[in-house]
């Protein structure tokens, strides 16, 4: 197949068998690749009710047809599994160089199944594929592991690794790559750890077949030129995602002190220009990126080098924990990266514990003597270590805020900030109904990357509850995750504002298959509905109540800033869901109807589960 290596590696970690299989035609046709192949494999191969940490769960690492090619931003890949954090669908996007390298080695995807008794790592050097002993790497940090493997194998090998967080079963452990890129959310690193798979090392030297090379080059030049000509390039290049920190603070969207409000009095210390001047050393991008958003930094205060912090980490480990110095945020970021835990969930868990402590729900007896509070960097570093090693209070927080609220009770459920068990990422939504709905209905839990609707909220009225706003969220939920199917990055579209429909002719020159942009959106909708059905299949009683937001946003007003005194009334939460389900063709309980599944060609696949 043009655009694909057309080969999948299947690694059985129980019996150590390695097989090479042709890419399933149906998956390429109906699900494209990336997270599409991920959910297709999860649905068809992982038994219903599988233990996320058991050998029956699978970890599916998938590139897409753009990966490895000269397409702006074509440096992403997806990691899918059943989530140990939520019990539902997990899919995490990873940037860097691994997706291209894997394609060059001749594989579109790797399916990890079973579980090893002893630590191993996967070695791939074109056709040579082996599972090798990783006992000397086990216990090491992510960045340390990457360096050790690069020293051992050679700089040209691309490495993905887990750290102590994944080894110790922290439910939001991530997979690290390229000195600071992560497949961060939902516990993909936890599943890797449960399989005793420490790392993946890949080198590839092959090419990727393209249907029409001449047309491909023309379209590639056109799209790269559009990126470089963008009026937005200069600013985005300088700041990356931190471009929005000041704006979020200004409009009341910067999560502050466990989302009690959206404006942080010390926010200016964390803004993009301050970070650029204080710690950024250089820009760092992924394969085929014309606008590197990564900011490689050095904190003199802590003597650390790291990629970041990017905006989500600044929001969650910074303002949401009350940290007022970008270098302290960098230190917390570095610890999470090295220990292999998701900075977003870690920030949510630490802020939750801090609020519990300040409300007297926890005491120093519960926190192993730690005095928790806002802007206490040493306590935050200590909590990160405890979480990663599951020590004391860290063992509770390692399970996520939903679990911690159940354990600690005393009304803490009111300020446990999650949806479906996943900690919310870094946008305060007391008064931003589109973004609130995006969080409620995101198919992995409270994550922003499927639909970043907050700009639309500000454009059309943040409190508006209208069919148009709901339609915008649904459009975004198809358009943005398309990139996770294709193996690309959405930033060239959403940050540089290049014409997103150009990806349709781009794909056509690669695959030779004529698909319009609308066809690709429809394909993405098919994937969205299958991921929804996965929740229905795996979570007993799944339905509308799983789409409810944390009470903080519909009962407790924001305490300061432009949204002070505001929250989204419960009736509006319900109205948003009613409109959303109706527009999606789902029933009032949020379950896709038979008609919708038939329309999307999913009926046979999901029949009879």
């Amino acid at each position: 197949m043009n655009g694909y290596a057309s080969m999948i590696l299947r690694i059985n970690l129980t019996n150590k068998t390695i097989t090479k299989e042709p890419y399933p035609d149906r998956a390429a046709r109906d699900f494209l690749g990336g997270r599409g192949l991920g959910i297709y494999t999860l649905w068809t191969e992982v038994p219903r009710g599988a233990n996320p940490l058991g050998p029956e769960n699978k970890l599916i690492a998938s590139t897409g047809p753009l990966s490895g090619l000269l397409v702006p931003g074509a440096g992403k890949m997806d990691w899918t599994c059943k989530s140990p954090l939520t019990g539902g669908y997990a899919s995490a996007s990873l940037g860097g160089m691994l997706s291209a390298e894997l394609k060059y080695a001749g594989y579109d995807s790797v399916i990890f199944e079973g579980a090893s008794d002893e630590p191993v790592y996967l070695f791939v050097d074109d056709d040579q594929v082996e599972l090798l002993d990783a006992s000397d790497l086990w216990g090491k940090g992510c960045i340390t592991t990457e360096k050790m493997l690069k020293d051992r194998l050679g700089e040209e090998f691309q490495i993905a690794a887990i750290g102590p967080g994944g080894e110790n079963g922290v439910k939001y452990a991530c997979i690290h790559h390229d000195w600071g890129r992560q497949a961060g959310r939902g516990g993909v690193g936890t599943v890797m750890g449960a399989k005793k798979l420490k790392a993946v090392a890949v080198r590839g030297t092959k090419g990727i077949p393209v249907a029409d090379v001449k047309a491909f080059h023309q379209q590639s030049r056109k799209m790269f030129k559009a990126c470089k000509d963008s009026e937005l390039w200069e600013a985005f290049q300088r700041y990356g995602t931190t471009i929005i920190t000041s704006w979020c603070d200004e409009v009341g969207a910067l999560p502050t002190r466990n989302f009690e409000t959206g404006t942080f009095e010390a926010g200016p210390n964390l803004y993009g220009e301050v970070m650029r001047q204080k710690i950024v050393v250089t820009d760092k991008g992924c394969s085929a990126c014309p606008s590197p958003c990564g900011k490689y930094s050095h904190s003199k205060k802590h003597n650390i080098w790291l990629e970041g912090p990017e905006y989500e980490t600044i929001g969650m480990l910074g303002s949401n924990c009350g940290l007022s110095d970008i270098e302290d945020v960098a230190r917390a970021n570095f610890l999470c990266d090295e220990l292999g835990i998701d900075t977003i969930s870690a920030g949510g868990c630490i802020a939750f514990a801090t609020e519990c402590f300040l409300k007297g729900i926890l005491t120093t007896e519960d926190t192993d003597g730690l005095e928790l509070g806002w802007d206490k960097p040493e306590a935050i570093y200590a909590l990160i270590e405890k979480i990663a090693r599951r020590e004391g209070v860290g063992a509770v927080l390692a399970e996520g805020v939903k679990h911690a609220a159940r354990v600690w009770g005393q009304g803490s459920e009111e300020f446990a900030i999650h949806v479906k068990g996943m900690e919310m990422s870094a946008y305060d939504v007391h008064q931003a109904t589109g973004m609130l709905l995006a969080y409620q209905t995101c198919d992995v839990g409270a994550h922003h990357n499927r639909a970043w609707a907050i700009t639309y909220d500000l454009e059309v009225g943040r409190e508006a509850v209208t069919p148009e706003k709901v339609a915008r969220v649904i459009f975004l939920q198809h358009a943005r995750p398309f990139f996770d199917l294709a193996g690309g990055c959405r930033f060239q579209w959403i940050e540089l504002a290049i014409d997103v429909t150009e990806y349709a002719p781009m794909l056509q020159t690669i695959t030779g298959i004529d698909r319009s942009w609308d066809d690709l959106l429809k394909l993405s909708e098919r994937v969205w509905n299958l991921t929804r059905m996965y929740w229905v299949r795996e979570v007993p009683g799944f339905g509308r109540q799983w789409d409810y937001p944390p009470p903080r946003f519909y009962k407790h007003p924001a305490t300061s800033g432009p949204t002070q005194g505001q929250f989204t009334p419960w009736e509006d939460v319900q109205k948003l869901l009613d409109m959303y389900y109706e527009q999606r063709g789902w029933d009032a309980n949020g379950i896709p109807t038979e008609e919708k599944l038939e329309e999307l060609g999913l009926s046979n696949l999901v029949k009879g589960f």
Binding site: E231, L232, E234, A235, R238, Y239, T241, I243, I244, S246, W247, E250, V251, P268, Y271, G272, E273, Y311, E312, S425, Y427, H448, N449, W452, I454, T455, L458, E459, R490, F491, W493, I494, E495, L496, A497
Partner: protein, 76 residues
């Protein structure tokens, strides 16, 4: 005092009759005041770029400043 050059990007041009380049006698005024004069909602401006650097909307413009107003696009 010479007029200050202001470049308006993307959807913000909806508020300037589609004009991309403006020249305003804005020295001594801050960015928020300039946005108010132009009728551009502050919340739609993600980044006021002054001489290539992100500044706050309290920044007071000086003679010779080059201003670029960057809108929100997609984020996250």
């Amino acid at each position: 005092m010479s007029p200050i050059s202001i470049t308006v990007v993307g959807l913000l041009k909806n508020y300037t009759q589609n004009q991309e380049s403006l020249a305003l006698d804005a020295a001594g005024k801050n960015i928020s005041q300039v946005l108010a004069e132009l009728g551009i909602p502050s919340v739609l401006v993600a980044v006021p770029l002054i001489n290539g650097r992100q500044e706050s909307k309290d920044y007071v413009l000086q003679d010779g400043d080059i201003v670029k107003l960057i809108p929100l696009v997609g984020g996250g």
